[in-house]
């Protein structure tokens, strides 16, 4: 029997539950809980003059109404600033409920708790809030102009200002034989998981303990944050992420106002309280991303080799900065992609606006970065009359130059050093997959039929698997099942399957015997969370290390029982046996029994481990000084720095000469995330990432008017792609192992999204003979760009 499972595209073990309606998402829990609903600001900027709740008091089933006045102690303080940074000189966070001022539409002003959600919303409608509206700051222009401010004590609206530089970039640009200045804009979008946020809290007054279920990407950190805010000892707080209906970044933000308020109300009321976000709330009260405007000065030689690259950009961080400035830091560092930039300088300002907060959304600043870098290389190629692929090849970091130090600081505070990757091979592979060199013939044929087609490509490097650490616990039960627990959370990535594969292979048991628990602080208390394409790298390796310890212990115990040398043993199919002596074997479940010396048997199997059945000899303690009972172990993976995945996308589009509609004819992806644990799951991640990339390139944007009203806060108006908009994705893999971790893996979750806008912009530009510098691009915008181009007004 083979137990090789890593690398196999096995079917997912979570699916039977999820396809039959037996999943348990947040709102599926707490059937008897009270329901919370929120009164939210209809204004982007206003003083809150009065909150009159008297009208709500008659509503049947009303249990409680809370405003800021009801909060005290740590609950009355601003929410934590999760990731402080020296460059974030004016970080600001919101109060759980508005304290006299609201700074974006959707900010919570009052919380209602009632018997059910219908009644809670009835009560919300009857709460009369008197606002003194102020003129808001909307959009980057208004933020930069700073004629008005979002926070009274931040007069220039600048939350953060940061410069990273290696070499004299501006000098190198000035001295270069060729120079270009370019501007690039990327609009706001959002993660938009199909399940919004949600919180369900139970306070056990007799036990003085709190259990909170949250649709979160980090249950362990929510636990610490809630304990601190609520004044409950950490030991008395448990946080569980149940089945989570997608995250894509937005659910790594925490603690949300609703998260602390629902838990706080459950304690105050001594009753279970639940809040499930509705779709409109998700649009106006969760988080967005992507809004940035970039200015590039680049200098290069006759071959298109970069000599100096200076990028300045402004980042719209919304009304508050609870998640710090991770997104613009990532843009500033990951902009370099697989290239050597010559001298490099990145400078950004992160600006307040009266809009929803900005936190990472799949790609997290990298889609903008890839857009800027790849479009810049396309511009250089066009300027020199050279091939677009050729200019990229000229600038690639070569495999023999690995590890490659960019002499910058990455988002984890560690040096930006690429560990491995074969960028020329990646490009070569995607060119072959899409038929790059044969495209001219296809284009000529299309032209004869009056069609416009174009091809584009884009490369990226993604820092994945950021620290600080993840851990895992692996235990072999006395019935032979293997139970794995890791602290980070799952939102559809198939961790129950992938981590089971890792544990099964390391331990030598069939994968069917392994069960995996994630995101439950009752089972594993220390973790960081699921973001930055880190789960497989971090917890995957932690599971491998913990399972390795269990295996070593199993061999030691089995060696004693079989009177053999541990080095002569192997584990396969759940049995430890002496190599070459198939009759000398012991089942892993029996080893598990022997690992736990017992006084009391609880079934037939455990009789084997009681004190009159077995012993290490009467002169030795039943559990040795350096040992622990149980066939189980915990271990940790903490990398010195991130591991860098890479890839390239190539896309063929057709544009309609009359309507300017863009149709994707081919979409090819080659990516390298090191060793694949489950190729089918990785492939699914790529497909989904591309779909979000296509959405961001062609359809999705948050449209605010000058009053700070989000005009398209519904699925009717915010255009997420349906099956009719997403192309079939053709994929190819490279497997350049990471030298930084035992499994040799790199993250894969975000890769599909990162270069999509850049590749599509390149293909549209190629089809149309113009230069797309703004994303997304709608048919009407492409139409307008054509008009400007015809009048030579585009650039």
């Amino acid at each position: 029997m083979t137990t090789r499972t890593v690398g196999e595209p096995i079917a997912r073990r979570e699916d039977p539950r999820l396809v039959t309606g037996e999943g348990r998402y947040l709102d599926d829990l707490g059937g008897g809980a009270l329901a919370a609903a929120f009164v939210r600001s209809p204004h982007a900027a206003a003083r809150v003059v009065d909150v009159d709740v008297s009208g709500a008091l008659e509503v049947e089933g009303l249990v409680a109404v809370y405003t800021y006045e009801d909060l005290e102690g740590p609950m009355a303080e601003p929410l934590p600033l999760l990731i402080p940074h020296p460059s974030l000189h004016a970080g600001r966070t919101a109060y759980p409920l508005a304290n006299g001022v609201v700074r974006h539409v959707g900010e919570p002003v009052a919380m209602v708790v009632a018997r059910d959600r219908y009644l809670a919303e009835d009560a919300c409608e009857r709460i009369a809030v008197t606002y003194e509206p102020l003129r808001p700051v909307v959009g980057l222009d208004a933020a930069v102009a700073a004629e008005r401010t979002v926070h009274d004590d931040v007069p220039d609206n600048v939350a953060a200002h940061m410069v990273q530089e290696h070499g004299d970039a501006r000098g190198a640009v000035a001295a270069a034989p060729h120079r270009l200045k370019l501007d690039f804009t990327v609009e706001r979008s959002a993660s938009m998981p199909l399940e919004g946020r949600g919180v369900y809290a139970r306070w056990d007054a007799a036990d003085r303990s709190l259990r909170v279920y949250s649709s979160t990407q980090t249950s362990t950190s929510v636990r610490f944050a809630l304990a601190a805010r609520l004044g409950v000892p950490v030991d008395r707080v448990e946080v569980v992420a149940p089945d989570v209906g997608g995250g894509f970044g937005v659910k790594i933000m925490h603690p949300w106002p609703e998260e602390v308020l629902v838990a706080w109300a459950a304690i105050r009321l001594g009753q279970e309280v639940k809040w499930t976000e509705d779709r409109r709330e998700h649009f106006v009260a969760s988080a967005h991303e992507r809004g940035q405007r970039h200015h590039v000065s680049v200098g290069f030689d006759d071959e298109g080799r970069l000599l100096g690259l200076a990028v300045e950009f402004v980042h719209d961080n919304g009304a508050y900065t609870p998640y710090g400035i991770i997104v613009p830091i990532i843009t500033a560092t990951q902009l370099l992609g697989p290239y050597k930039p010559g001298a490099y300088r990145a400078e950004f300002r992160s600006l307040y606006t009266n809009t929803v907060i900005v936190t990472p959304y799949r790609g997290a600043g990298r889609p903008q970065a890839a857009f800027v870098m790849e479009r810049t290389l396309d511009a250089i190629a066009a300027y020199l009359g050279r091939g677009r692929a050729e200019v990229r090849e000229t600038n690639f970091i070569q495999p023999h130059e690995m590890p490659y130090d960019h002499h910058l600081t990455f988002q984890d505070g560690r040096p930006l050093i690429y560990d491995s990757g074969d960028y020329p091979a990646t490009l070569d592979k995607v060119k072959k997959l899409v038929g790059w060199d044969e495209f001219g013939a296809f284009r000529a044929e299309a032209h004869r039929d009056g069609r416009r087609v174009g091809i584009g490509l884009a490369c990226y490097v993604e820092g994945t698997g950021v620290g600080p650490y993840e851990g895992a616990h692996v235990r072999v039960e006395t019935n032979g099942t293997v139970v794995v627990a890791t602290g980070l959370t799952t939102q559809g990535q198939g961790h129950e399957t992938a981590f089971a594969q890792v544990a099964a292979e390391t331990l030598g048991v069939p994968v069917e015997r392994v069960t995996v628990v994630t995101g439950d602080t009752r089972r594993f208390k220390y973790a960081v969370g699921t973001f930055a394409s880190r789960a497989a790298v971090m917890s995957g390796n932690a599971v491998a290390l913990a399972a390795g310890k269990v295996r070593a212990k199993a061999l030691r115990i089995a060696a004693e029982a079989l009177e053999a040398d541990p080095d002569d043993l192997e584990v396969a199919g759940g049995t430890v046996r002496v190599k070459g002596a198939p009759d000398r074997e012991i089942a892993l479940e029996t080893v598990a029994v022997l690992a736990n010396p017992l006084r009391y048997a609880f079934d037939e199997q455990t009789k084997l481990a009681t004190q009159f059945a077995v012993g290490r000899g009467v002169d030795a303690p039943p559990v040795a000084d350096d040992d622990e009972p149980g066939l189980e172990a915990t271990d940790w993976y903490s990398p010195v720095r991130s591991t860098f995945a890479n890839g390239a996308h190539a896309v063929v589009v057709e544009t309609d000469p009359e309507t300017a509609e863009v149709r994707i004819l081919r979409y090819c992806v080659v990516h390298d995330c090191g060793r694949l644990i489950n190729p089918r799951i990785v492939e699914g991640q790529v497909h989904g990432g591309v779909a979000q990339g296509v959405g961001g390139a062609l359809y999705e944007r948050m449209v605010y008017d000058e009053n700070g009203q989000l005009l398209n806060a519904s699925f009717m108006d915010f255009l997420m792609p349906y099956a009719s908009e997403v192309p079939k994705v053709e994929t190819g893999h490279l497997e350049t192992l990471s030298p930084l971790n035992p499994l040799g893996i790199k993250g894969a979750g975000e890769a599909g999204t990162i270069p999509a806008a850049a590749a599509l912009a390149a293909a549209i530009s190629d089809a149309e003979g113009l230069f797309v510098d703004t994303m997304p691009i709608s048919p009407s915008e492409l139409w307008a760009l054509r008009e400007r181009h015809a009048r030579k007004e585009d650039r």
């Binding site: 997912r12 309606g21 709102d27 599926d28 399940e195």
Partner: protein, 166 residues
């Protein structure tokens, strides 16, 4: 001011159920919170995402756009009712696992019900038809490619089933 309740009779997944609900109770909320069938998911509550799709007298409908009292007397099929008669995975459900047609699984119930109804009239679809069949449901995870494959796989499983029965 207590809301009047209306006795409503539904046959849900073959089982007659009677609930007393306010007139404004959405069918989605009735199924989830009054009948405890939480497999039907609510993704937008404005009829766009399709996660809440159930079969009403055999036809796919968005349960977030229906009042429970408005379908008094109807036969409702939810994702829980799409299992095979023996209790195992139904053909559409099996196809989703076979083809990795789901990731987070939140939108999946609406796809399963929609596809179940559609395949009754389209037993041997082309890939293009399969893509059109799911064109009214949103998924944020999969990029739809493996859902299209799931439709084709489910059709194949259903055809095999029918052949075996003959």
């Amino acid at each position: 001011m207590s809301e009047p309740l209306h006795e409503t009779r539904l046959v849900v997944n073959g089982v007659p159920r009677t609930v007393a609900v306010p007139a404004r109770r959405l069918l989605s909320d009735c199924l989830r919170h009054d009948l405890g069938l939480t497999g039907t998911h609510v993704g937008c509550e404005h009829g766009v995402c399709g996660a809440c799709t159930v079969l009403v007298d055999g036809r796919p409908m968005r349960s977030c756009l229906l009042f429970a009292v408005g379908v008094d007397g109807a036969e409702i099929t939810t994702v829980e009712g799409c299992r095979s008669p023996g209790g195992g995975l139904g053909p559409v459900q099996q196809a989703f696992q076979d083809c990795h047609g789901l990731q987070c699984g939140f939108c999946t119930p609406g796809f399963v019900t929609t596809i179940t109804a559609w395949l009754r009239d389209h037993p041997d679809p082309s890939e293009e038809q399969a893509r059109q069949a799911i064109g009214g449901n949103l998924c944020r995870c999969t990029g739809y490619q493996n859902i299209v494959a799931s439709v084709l796989r489910a059709a194949e499983l259903l055809r095999n089933q029918e052949e075996a029965a003959r």
